[in-house]
Symmetry: C2
Subunit: 723 residues, 2 copies
Amino acid sequence: MTKKHTVILQPSGRRGKVDEGTSIRVAARELGVEIESICAENATCGKCMVLIEEGRFEKYNVDSKREHLSPVGSDEQAYFARRPNLLKTKGWELGQVRLSCQCKVLGDVLINVPEESRGNKQIVRKSARERAIEIKPSVRKYYVSMTPPNLERPIADWERLAKGLEISMGLVRRGEENLPRWSDLSIDYACLRTLSSTLREAKWNVTVSVWQDKEVIAVQPGYVEESYGAAVDIGSTTVALYLCNLRTGEILAAESEMNPQIVYGEDVMSRIQYSIEHKDGLEKLHKAIISTLNKLLKQAIKSANLSLRAQVAKQSSDEEENPTDEVPLFSQGLLRREEHSPRNDMKTDEILEMVLVGNSTMHHLLLNLHPKDLGLAPFVPTIHKSVDVKARELGLQINSSGNIHVLPTIASFVGADTSAMILAEEPHKQDENWLLIDVGTNAELILGNRKRLVCTSTPTGPALEGAHVEYGMRAAPGAMERVHIDENTLEPKYKVIGVDGWNTDHAEFRGHVKGICGSAIIDSVAELFRAGIVDSRGKFKKGLGSTSSPKGDRIREGASGWEYVIAWAEETSIGRDIPITQQDVRQIQLAKAALFTAARTLLKRSNLESPDKIILAGGFGSYIDKEKAMLIGLIPDCALENVYAVGNAAGDGARIALLNVEKRKEIESVTRRVERFELPTDPEFQNQFMLATSFPHMSESFPHIAHLIPHRVPDPLAKNFMK
Amino acid sequence: MTKKHTVILQPSGRRGKVDEGTSIRVAARELGVEIESICAENATCGKCMVLIEEGRFEKYNVDSKREHLSPVGSDEQAYFARRPNLLKTKGWELGQVRLSCQCKVLGDVLINVPEESRGNKQIVRKSARERAIEIKPSVRKYYVSMTPPNLERPIADWERLAKGLEISMGLVRRGEENLPRWSDLSIDYACLRTLSSTLREAKWNVTVSVWQDKEVIAVQPGYVEESYGAAVDIGSTTVALYLCNLRTGEILAAESEMNPQIVYGEDVMSRIQYSIEHKDGLEKLHKAIISTLNKLLKQAIKSANLSLRAQVAKQSSDEEENPTDEVPLFSQGLLRREEHSPRNDMKTDEILEMVLVGNSTMHHLLLNLHPKDLGLAPFVPTIHKSVDVKARELGLQINSSGNIHVLPTIASFVGADTSAMILAEEPHKQDENWLLIDVGTNAELILGNRKRLVCTSTPTGPALEGAHVEYGMRAAPGAMERVHIDENTLEPKYKVIGVDGWNTDHAEFRGHVKGICGSAIIDSVAELFRAGIVDSRGKFKKGLGSTSSPKGDRIREGASGWEYVIAWAEETSIGRDIPITQQDVRQIQLAKAALFTAARTLLKRSNLESPDKIILAGGFGSYIDKEKAMLIGLIPDCALENVYAVGNAAGDGARIALLNVEKRKEIESVTRRVERFELPTDPEFQNQFMLATSFPHMSESFPHIAHLIPHRVPDPLAKNFMK
């Protein structure tokens, strides 16, 4: 019987007995700790370094000596000899640091697996709370070195590669029955087409990218470490793409573009309409988004290469100061310098996977699925389940064998972007009840905790994004972003993007304002209400008299009804007074009524008074004043410190799904159990909606902002509002 | 506890106990007998009819009465009421015949499952021996009837379909844990694209085609019974396509065309050369075969529809004589008449799968894989394993979601056609040692039995197909197909395709001969040798003197050396004497030497003197005179009654793989264990080859044709030939 020895692994603390002669890397795997390796355990990649912890042995009461491991072999010695600086920099000595694929257990040992050698890396994401994301990409790379074929063994290229791969992937070594064998591996057809020329060009030394442990999707000559992927959030207005390193999780570039479909319709409904009314409508909408995605991919690669080039330049100037005497591995023909150095010549076909999210309409248009049934009752999408499709099927210019993963949709108007938001924020893992709101032209809402999640969606109109508001504009330099109205003088002050401080902080303030962006619109309406200029029904009050402004009366009857001037013509770059009009207030009332009714419906269905936390996703949520939003009743009452703006949660979710393949399964199963409400089917909806257009001053429903609510305007309607 | 009853199923004899209340169809499945059904057990398709066998109960000692089954229900009654002729024709009465999905077990019963209701049907194939092929296609059809979506349940189209499918496929009912659930089903992307419009057009009643029990590849409106598939043998010269009904196995059309790649090179080597020398060579060769396959598909559909139309016409005239009073199911909106009647409007996208075979070069050109490494030592193919790829990836015009299955290759020059031949002839299931030979421009040979199979290949040149022979031609009207030479008078007689009997049977024989096809060339050379006109080295003997022909001397020195005139100019339509020349004899010698050496090598490696059976595949094998072939040493010695010509075994194998998905796994594993010999690596090869060019008259090696061998020409070389 083989002798057994105890192995303890730090920092995980995992321990257990393994057979004498087992390598540390294999021992670690048996004990549940993955250690990196991409050279098929040939002592060439150095990814599997571990530290032999002699100093702390007594603590564990293990009698561990260096002789408890096989001596440093010649391959291992050669590896470190080629990198004398490595040991110097880290202050390590050979023997203390070992290649875990080479050193074998001969007695009890205590091993420290440093962060960089751990198989499942993590990156930290800033969110409602900090959270680590484990890196488990669907694509893994393996280095395979083959004996060239000869007349005695003229086995086919694929079988030769697959057998080599079986060793590199450790399929043979593990010897577990349910693991795939080489004959279970497959190769994508497009990749097969170039296989024979690549193998010969590479002199039978290649790096193979395997998707989901089962399909070969890329074969690159020589030794290649990095894989790349892209995560994309397709918004109705903006498309954002993140180019990531699939091994480290690092974001190499983030690019965004306007959604080109805007020319066919500003909101999803008008795009659906376009696709119905025009024979080639779907084709145009589909091609528009595909070509923008391809443009973003190119831009991202360019940016990534630029910053990598800067990095390399810095590195080599550092090296001049501390010259390296590393004997390059490429002199052995094993590595090519340009591939071992940080890359600055990334090509589109090195992007091996893409994860996309978007609302149901964006989802359908991306996949070239006709969206007409999304626009007609009963508003049914073609598919909820996530979709995996080859890049070439969609014409996306990443590696043509690469996979395109589109996250699942949840309901008619609760799309893959909401799935991504759930993945990023994880309400399904909470004990508290969280309310997630993604506000755009349409708003999606998720409420619940680990036991139950309910969702709904509602159109909010474009007002919250600054559109359809008389002087509305996007958040860009010159846009008013904050507004405050003195409730005594009724005089405003405001902040403008690109200018420090309030306008009143400056002696003169000429020509700085261009328009009003979403957050300032919310502010303005909230302030008009708080200052008592508009009543709880949103109507401008008559008889307030003239304001004390020296420039004239700010509350006035304009061309299209009553309005309040925030900026006089001379303060603007457009040479016109910028007012908030009765019409603008009306737009915001409709939007907030929709949002508020949706939130109240979910709360009521969940038997909750209010959520424990409110999470606002999307660009909109990041800029609005939470207090003001609550004041006009855009969001339900909640302690203000529990209202979080998390930015592009959909984009974060897409990135999480890109970097961790298990998260895809997780969200698939979570979305399947989310309960959906279609608001129009709620008999009370219309009634509640009308009530919700008024501004909330039922202080009992909004204890957290009660002090801000003007008490001079009691509103009897509030009593009838659904609880 | 539920009561249990015994169920006996005929003709299989399977028996066992099942729970009371189980339907006969489910009971049968539990006992291992599949009964057809495509209506999701709704008593509408009638595929699951069974007979209740009362008369033979005593024999089985089962006390079985009709009350042992649930009474005939209204659905069942309705089914038979709509088809009164059905019972009349068969002489059955209701109660004796039942729908097995409807009738439930209430006591012990004896059931007869008629052939047409059995789930796994068989067709019989004529081969070296008669053999039944079980029908288990990779594509199965299921009828799914869904509730349309509404605002209360606006679940997506795919999920609605998949859940319905789960019931139709019996995934839920079986309740076994390892069976897929609806959420494990997937849908091909191209099929997904049309899903929503098909479902609505079909008013939510569709027939779904599922590939390999896991992927939906077609959704057709209404109730559709038949699926179609195509099996193709791509020869270097001829491409043969069989259009089959995947449910019954019936061949609906068989079409063939010349391989259009011939214009780029007559044999595989010259086509490989063309692909190397021309930048767009591969593309041209690939596109040529794809467009021919598409042409064949169109032709086959046209033929199939023509013959189906004839069938329908016959049927309706029969019906006029015996009018049917069937109440059509389509009046209930369930069936559409045109789909229930035999079809005559089959479309290309109803062809749901295609299985292709061909030699390694044809295999590579079909798949658009560069064949250059097949043409250069060490002659390595890109892949051995079978390939599954979507029709749209290759541009093959069947259903774009349909699968293209290409059988595995075995060695450099032993391709997917040989795999198909093995599948058709099954040497791997024999105790005897069989030698399979597929002769074309290249010959592939397989030798062995269930324990061991060895294979090799050898170029034979075009002579055996009538090419490169001075007056050679294809087997077509006007081609000489048989030749006999009187060994005393040295006068010939011959048979011509399209003319009855020998030429000598006719008083005059003018203008009938155009040339000599392969079988007549073998005959001629064998007869020249047998009659002593050429010697064992294949040389025309001098000094035989003039022959007794009144038209002149048949043995004469022509422009390019000695020759023997078979037909005088006046007997031909070309106005020239048709001779067999020294050069022709030489061509045959080289071809037969290659073939013979290959066969001897395999026999030697298997320690065998001779095979128990010789199976000649391919058109060539069907027409040659086995005795003559053995006389010139084209094939090794074997009892003549054990030499079989099986025609297009490769095409048969393709058809078997098309109709039975399990056969694909079988051949994959068989090909993996076939031992390959590359002849050029055999050190003795050149020497043996030279020896084998002489004609075999070592009677000890050919006991079965010893009486034919002319003893006047002893050949000392024979003694040195490998045993």
